[in-house]
Symmetry: C2
């Protein structure tokens, strides 16, 4: 990719300009979970569409109707297109322009909606890394190509949503509907909305765990009871629920539901060798955990536990006493919440059946007169792409060119449900190409994107498109 030197030079020359663009975007407090900020979210969508148009791209603001259960308009999805050259490949990119809530009083060192450039290069502000920086990276790449007089190597389709931090309401339907329409030309998909595993080595992400979320309702009495009056003479829903929840997983993370382990894909010999080379240390993990309470002492078992093994977490109980203090209530109806992170080759339906059967069997053994109902609340599948696809190869070459080393090929323990949706809607390979690093604090106070990651990351996105154009379609 010979034109890259010119492109990189232009990106460096425009560094301050690109930081100003990020400053403008951060200044719009597009908090999707806060109804009173909805006009700001919409304003942010319009800002993006205007910027795209100024760069000569087509941009449509697609309305999604009302937010279910409210009178609020959903923020529009920005559908953009740059280039219609039939001789070029077409890459579909996704990002989101809404952000997590933030208040200075949460403990921020700086105003969250004023981008602050620190001496050490940190660009601090809400949305800097999640996900305004990466979204603007695509716009920066277009602009730098134009200024440097370098032909843009691909046609770019863009899908930027404004509800990612609040459930992506309406997006799945839109993506499925546009799969063979607006997104029809896409040869591959690239999503930049995750992070490096650490702070040193870049990575490409090809797998995510799924998540099945469950509720266990136990009820009996007609209303909350006084434990003095009824303690010892009535079956208490909390007693039953806590027993049921205690049958699900051991303190060492072993899932006790029969049939789950049998569904998990066996570890192959090839896979065994994948983990040791990954840039990841237990020290960094202990730091992000804030304690040394990891189950495993070694990196390989820990990465496998996060990436390719299922896990079960108990989240809490609805309906019980939860406040500080000492209330002597017997709750009449309690709902236990837990979820299972799923991996290949677990099937959603099969897993649900096993979980419900386990709970029904366990409840029978309690001999309680209370009533138990267990059910899945929502289920999202795991996702694993082929990292040998030209889409990944192009990104790997771009990474090596920009950062000077091969990226790690990683998976993640969490889920980004829209990844599978794009894969299903387009039938094409999906790549997760992160810009920021593990210490950016996406959903925390003092969220930041390092200037280096923003500027080199902008180079990376452009370089990726150049290698995409060159890569043989295998």
């Amino acid at each position: 990719a010979p034109q890259l030197d010119g492109y990189f030079k232009q990106v460096d020359a425009f560094a301050d300009k690109f930081i100003d663009r990020l400053r403008e975007a951060v200044a719009i407090p597009s908090v999707s979970a806060d109804a009173s900020r909805r006009p700001d979210v919409v304003r942010m969508g319009h800002y993006l569409a205007d910027q795209l148009k100024k760069l000569g791209a087509e941009a449509e603001l697609r309305e999604l109707g009302k937010q279910p259960g409210t009178d609020l308009d959903l923020p529009p999805v920005v559908l953009g297109r740059y280039g219609r050259d039939k001789n070029k490949r077409t890459i579909l990119v996704y990002g989101h322009y809404d952000v997590q809530p933030a208040e200075k009083s949460d403990g921020w060192d700086t105003e969250p909606f004023e981008l602050t450039v620190q001496e050490d290069g940190r660009l601090c502000g809400r949305g800097s890394t999640d996900d305004k920086g990466p979204v603007l990276g695509w716009l920066n790449a277009i602009e730098a190509h134009q200024a440097a007089g370098i032909d843009f190597p691909v046609n770019l389709l863009m899908c930027f949503e404004g509800m990612e931090e609040n459930g992506s309401e309406g997006l799945e339907e839109l993506v499925m509907e546009e799969g063979k329409k607006f997104f029809a030309d896409a040869d591959a998909v690239c999503i930049s909305d995750n992070y490096w595993l650490g702070t040193e080595r870049p990575c490409l992400t090809y797998g995510l765990r799924g998540v099945n979320y469950y509720a266990i309702e136990v009820s009996g009495p007609g209303q909350d009871l006084h434990s003095g009056v009824f303690g010892g003479l009535a079956h208490e829903p909390m007693t039953d629920l806590v027993r049921l929840m205690s049958t699900l997983v051991t303190p060492s993370g072993e899932i006790l539901i029969k049939g789950i382990a049998e569904q998990v894909a066996p570890v192959t010999a090839e896979e065994e060798g994948l983990y040791d080379g990954i840039a990841f240390t237990m020290e960094t993990l202990h730091e992000s955990l804030g304690s040394k309470t990891t189950i495993f002492e070694d990196k390989k078992k820990t990465l496998m536990a996060r990436w390719r093994m299922p896990s079960l977490s108990l989240h809490g109980i609805e309906g019980a006493f939860y406040a500080p203090g000492a209330k002597t209530v017997i709750p009449a109806k309690v709902i236990g919440k837990f979820s299972i992170r799923t991996v290949p080759n677990m099937e959603i339906e099969k897993t649900n059946e096993l979980v419900i059967k386990h709970l029904e069997d366990a409840f029978k053994t309690l001999g309680s007169k209370n009533t138990m109902k267990a059910y899945p609340v929502h289920c999202g599948n795991w996702w694993v792409a082929s990292p040998k696809h030209w889409n990944f190869e192009a990104a790997a070459k771009a990474t090596e060119r920009v950062w000077g080393e091969r990226p790690d090929f990683t998976r993640e323990g969490g889920s980004i449900p829209i990844t599978i949706t794009f894969q299903e809607a387009t039938g094409k390979n999906v790549l997760l190409l992160p810009m920021g690093s593990s210490t950016d604090g996406a959903h925390s106070i003092n969220e930041k994107l390092d200037k280096k990651n923003y500027i080199e990351g902008t180079k990376l996105l452009g370089a990726y498109l150049h290698y995409v154009a060159e890569e043989p379609m295998n």
Copy 2:
């Protein structure tokens, strides 16, 4: 007690006047748990003191200082005295003039702070039965004696507090301090702040369970975690806590902590015969429970479970996810709350030791790297008085005279901590003499006191004092 006929006649003649007095008291929304209502609570204390003075009694408003942790003045305790005749016995009575919160919008059929007289005789309003009706009963008794020209049979000491529904802040200290001062002359104590076991037969109450409240803190991670990122690789405090809580009690109410059962007083042959005659049916219990989920099918086992057996209830968990919806958090620190209702001959210290040891042993078996801390939050002892004391005998005779039948001698499953305090402060026998019935709904919407219970109850309080004066001091 020959003067009782005249007294009863006068009470009947004053029925409307007494209902008006209750109407005035209910109209003062003396909600002690609501800071904004504090002036109303204070106003209610002044109202009582004024009424007592009008009746020729002495009344002092004893200030208790600030409510701990706030800038609010505690409501004053009304200390009253009626009569200083050295040849008469002295009875100390206790009641409270504050009430539970109430809003029409909670589901009340009538305005909670307007006494409504229903056709069927129900006097509806917040505080009608808990505890303004019984408190005014003593004032009514004084007034009726005066109007009928009948000599008041005893000296009456009164202690009416305004913080009962909000922790009785400061009362214990005052009672202990006045035990040998203001309360020094008391020959016995009578508290009217509980209820008949059912709706038909009156009762006298001679026992209460105690309550030891415990917290189990489990912590590990430095902050709440994302279950996608950390699920399966970190020890989760919720998993440990739920396991610990599941070791405490069976779904059938059996306490699994070693050494608790051994502390419980054995059932005597005499006691065996006590339960069958009690006016109590499983049908009524199922009604008040709102379901048929009782552990036992028969009355005797059920009453024993409530009155003389310990019980353990799990109340909830602080720090976990408790809201509706589906949040995939791994809580970093969770605090389980449970309590044990205690009975003779359980000792507070011994019980605490057994509970903490049980939890520490159980935690060790979990093999978790998290940290566990278990401790008692507050402990209040059980109380059992001798129902063969002249104080109870006088009340039983009064009940037979007013209601036409012997009362049941009952215990209760709940605790009224001030009962033991009065016993310890005065060294005298304490009697619980209820005015209202089991369906009054003391802390619920549509609280009521039946007119019959209010008027006959006023007769009962007066008659009790007459029999007290006659009863041989055995």
